[in-house]
Symmetry: C2
C-alpha cells in the first residue's frame, strides 16, 4: 500500500489560505482534511468534527501530555492544535491529507514531519495583502500595520518550505497545488515498490 502525502498549506494571514484550501478540497474530494482541535466555543454554524474538534481544557491538556498533538499553541487563552492520530491513519491508508495552518504551526509540523509537502502561499504583493486585509473591514490602522510587518517577517522564513505558490487567482493557485501533489506522487522515492513490481512482472507470469 502506497503511503499518502501530508500537504501543508501555510502563509501569512490575508493570503487566502482558507479560500484556496476550501476550493482545493471541493475540486479534489479524494483529499482528506486535517480538522484542528480547540478549546474555544463553537461559533454559529460551526460543528464539532467538521470545523473543529471542540474540547474542554482538561481533555486538550491530556492530549498535549500524551503526545497526541502534532503541534499546538495557546492564543488569547484558548488552545488550538493538530491531532496526530487521524493524520497517521489517513496517510497509512494511502490517503492524502491537507493541513491548513499558520506559519508558526507549519514550522513545528516540519520538525516532526520533514517529508510533508510544505507549500507557502504568497500574496501577489504586500500592497495587495494590505488591500485584502482592509477588505475584511475588521482592522484598525495599528492592527493593520502590525499584520503587514508580521507578513513581511513570515515571508522571510518562506525559504524553509519546499514550494511557493502565489495566490493571484484562486483557481490558478488551486491548480498549482494539485499539480504539486501529482508531481509528489511521481517522485522516485514514492515509487520504489512500483519499480520492483514492474521489473519483476516477467518472472511472475
Amino acid at each position: 500500500m502506497k503511503q499518502g502525502c501530508l500537504i501543508v498549506v501555510s502563509g501569512p494571514s490575508g493570503t487566502g489560505k482558507g479560500t484556496v484550501c476550501a476550493s482545493l478540497l471541493a475540486a479534489h474530494p479524494e483529499i482528506a482534511y486535517s480538522i484542528s482541535a480547540t478549546t474555544r466555543q463553537p461559533r454559529d454554524g460551526e460543528h464539532n468534527g467538521v470545523n473543529y474538534y471542540f474540547l474542554e481544557k482538561p481533555a486538550f491538556e491530556r492530549m498535549i501530555a500524551d503526545g497526541e498533538l502534532l503541534e499546538w499553541a495557546e492564543v488569547y487563552g484558548h488552545y488550538y492544535g493538530t491531532p496526530l492520530r487521524p493524520i497517521q491513519e489517513k496517510l497509512a491508508d494511502g490517503q492524502d491529507i491537507l493541513l491548513e495552518i499558520d506559519t508558526q504551526g507549519a514550522l513545528k509540523v516540519q520538525k516532526k514531519c520533514p517529508d510533508g509537502i510544505f507549500i507557502f502561499l504568497l500574496p501577489p504583493s504586500l500592497t495587495e495583502l494590505e488591500r485584502r486585509i482592509r477588505g475584511r473591514g475588521t482592522e484598525d490602522e495599528k492592527d493593520l500595520a502590525r499584520r503587514l510587518a508580521a507578513a513581511q517577517k513570515e515571508i522571510d522564513v518562506a525559504h524553509r518550505y519546499r514550494y511557493a505558490v502565489v495566490n493571484d487567482k484562486v483557481d490558478t493557485a488551486v491548480a498549482k497545488i494539485a499539480a504539486i501533489l501529482t508531481a509528489e506522487h511521481c517522485r522516485m522515492e514514492a515509487n520504489r515498490q512500483l519499480l520492483t513490481e514492474i521489473a519483476g512482472t516477467k518472472e511472475k507470469r
Copy 2:
C-alpha cells in the same frame, strides 16, 4: 529573468517516449524541443533542423572536440548527440526545453546538468512492454529477448531519476509530466527572486 527548466524524458525502448513527448509538445507549445545532431542520412520525410541536425562526420567530430555536445554516442557507425548551445540559450531565455533520450544518454546528461528534471517513463509491466515491442512487428525472438533483458536492467537504474511516470495511457502520462513541470516551477529554489520582490513591494511604493 527566471531560468527555464530542462525536462529529460527517458526510459527503456518500447515505453512510448516518442509518442508521449510528441503529445506533450502538441499540448504545450510553450515547451521547446531539443533537436539531436546525427551523421546518419535523413530518412524520407525527415528534415534538417526539425527531426535532427544532419551533419557530416568531420563537423560532428569538431563539435565533440569543442565540447559543444551535452552527450554523444556512436551507434552502428553513426554519431548521435545533443547540441549544448540551443539548450543553454532557451534556458537562459526562461524557456522550458524537453530532451527525449535513451537511458545511457540521460545518465551522461545528469552528470553535466544535475538540476534537470529527470523523468523515467515506465511501461505498465514487462509483459506489456513485450506486447508493445512485438506490435511494432520488426523484431525476431532473439532480438526481443535482448531488448527485454536490457529494459529490466534499465529499470534497475531508474532510482537515479527524480520522477517515475507509468505510460499506461498517453494522456495520463502527458498530464503527469505537465504537472511535474508546474510543480518544479513552484519549487522554492526557483522563486527566491519572487520572494524578495514580494517582501519588498511595500517599500517600493
